[in-house]
Amino acid sequence: MRQTAVPHGAPAADAPDRERFADLMAAIATRQDREAFAELFAYYAPRVKAYMLRLGAGAALAEELAQEVMITVWRKAALFDRKQASVSTWIFRVARNRRIDAARRAKHANFDQEDPILHPEAAEAPDDAVSAGQRERQVRAALTTLPAEQVDLLKQAFYDGLSHRDIAEKTGIPLGTVKSRIRLAFARLRTALGPDI
C-alpha cells in the first residue's frame, strides 16, 4: 500500500497557514507578542515533543526538550527569516540541533578552552537563490510523488533519527540499496532547487 508523508491534494485539516505562522514569528520578534507565541506553542510544542519521543527520548526528557525548543523560538524569533525557511522548517532545524548539541557537549569533558578552534558561534543562514516559499511548496509536492519505499526511508531518517546504516541494519535492506533509494529520493527533492542548480 502506498504511504505518503504529506497528504495528497488538499492540505490536511491541521496543516499550518505558513504565512500566518511567519507573521506570528515577526510579532514575537518585534513586540514580544505572547498571544502569537501561544498560538505557535499550541501547534508546535506537541509535535516537537512527539519528534523527541520518536527519537528515543523518555517522556520527561522529550517534554523538557520540547519546552527548550519553544523557549528558543521565543528568544530567537528575530533570527527567523521568512525568506529562508518556513516556520516548520526552522523549528525542525532548532529541534534537531538541540540533539546534536547535547551529544556534542557530552563528549568534551576536559579540553583547552583557550584553543582557537573552540568558539561557539551562531549558525549561518543558507543563501541560496530559491525563495523559501517556492522550496517548501516544491519539496512537499515532490514528497507526494515519491514511491512508498523512499517515503518509508525518509520517515525512518526524520522520525526515528536513524542513519542510513542504521536503516540498512534494522530493515535488512542492503546498504547499497538504501543509498540508491536515498539518491533517488534526493534527486526528486532537488527539483525544488530549480533547473539552474
Partner: protein, 202 residues
C-alpha cells in the same frame, strides 16, 4: 555514482540528526564553505519541516508565559563547542598556530576533542603512503587540494573512503593540504614505512 550516493546519504544523515559529533562538525564546516551544499541542506530541512508537521501531536504541559522573557541564559550554550567557522579560520588561514604532531612522512595530525575527528596536514608535493580503511573515512578539504584514484578535491569538497578502499592521496606541489577527517575505523597502511606510521597512529 558511488561518491554522490555517499554524499546524499551523509547529507540525509545530517538533516535527520543521525550523525555523530565528528561527522556533524564536518558537514557543518562543508556547509560554510559550499553554497551548493547549503541549498541541498535547505531542501532536506524543508522535508524535515514537512515531516514535523505531519507528526501526531503529543500531550505537552503549557509553558508558563509569565516570566518567559526573563528566563536565565538557559540556551546560550556557555560551554565551548567546536565551531565550524573558527575551525575554518584556524585550520585554513593560520595552520602554523596549531599544535600538529608528526604522524608519518609528509603527514601531521591534530586530534580534535571529538571521537574519530582529526585535522590532517599533508605537505605540498607529497604523496601519503597507500592505505586502506577498517571503517569509513570522510574527508573535507579546508586548505589546498589533494587528488587520489577517485578524483581531485579542493576546498569545501568531501571525499569518501569506504572499508576496503585503498588510496594514496597526492598533494600538488606548493601549499600544504589541511583536511578535516571524520573516521569510524582505523587507517591500514601498506608497506614497511607505512606499517611504522600505522603503529604511530594507533
Amino acid at each position: 555514482m558511488a561518491a554522490s550516493e555517499a554524499y546524499d546519504a551523509l547529507m540525509l544523515d545530517y538533516a535527520a540528526g543521525a550523525l555523530g559529533p565528528a561527522h556533524a562538525l564536518l558537514v557543518e564546516t562543508h556547509l560554510r564553505l559550499k553554497p551548493d551544499g547549503r541549498a541541498a541542506a535547505a531542501v532536506l530541512d524543508a522535508a524535515g519541516g514537512a515531516f514535523l508537521e505531519s507528526l501526531p501531536p503529543a500531550d505537552v504541559m503549557a509553558l508558563p508565559l509569565a516570566g518567559v522573557e526573563t528566563l536565565p541564559g538557559l540556551l546560550d550554550a556557555p560551554e565551548p563547542v567546536i565551531d565550524a567557522r573558527a575551525l575554518i579560520e584556524a585550520a585554513s588561514r593560520r595552520p602554523d598556530d596549531l599544535s600538529w604532531r608528526w604522524r608519518a612522512p609528509g603527514l601531521r595530525e591534530l586530534r580534535l576533542p571529538l571521537q574519530g575527528s582529526s585535522l590532517l596536514r599533508l605537505a605540498g608535493g607529497r604523496a601519503l603512503a597507500a592505505h586502506g580503511h577498517s571503517g569509513e573515512e570522510v574527508t573535507l578539504v579546508l586548505r589546498g587540494a589533494f587528488s587520489d584514484q577517485a578524483g581531485h578535491y579542493e576546498v569545501g569538497d568531501i571525499g569518501f573512503a569506504d572499508e576496503g578502499y585503498d588510496h594514496s592521496p597526492l598533494v600538488p606541489p606548493g601549499d600544504d593540504c589541511v583536511c578535516l577527517v571524520a573516521m569510524t575505523g582505523r587507517l591500514k597502511f601498506h608497506g614497511a614505512v607505512a606499517r611504522i606510521a600505522a603503529r604511530l597512529l594507533s
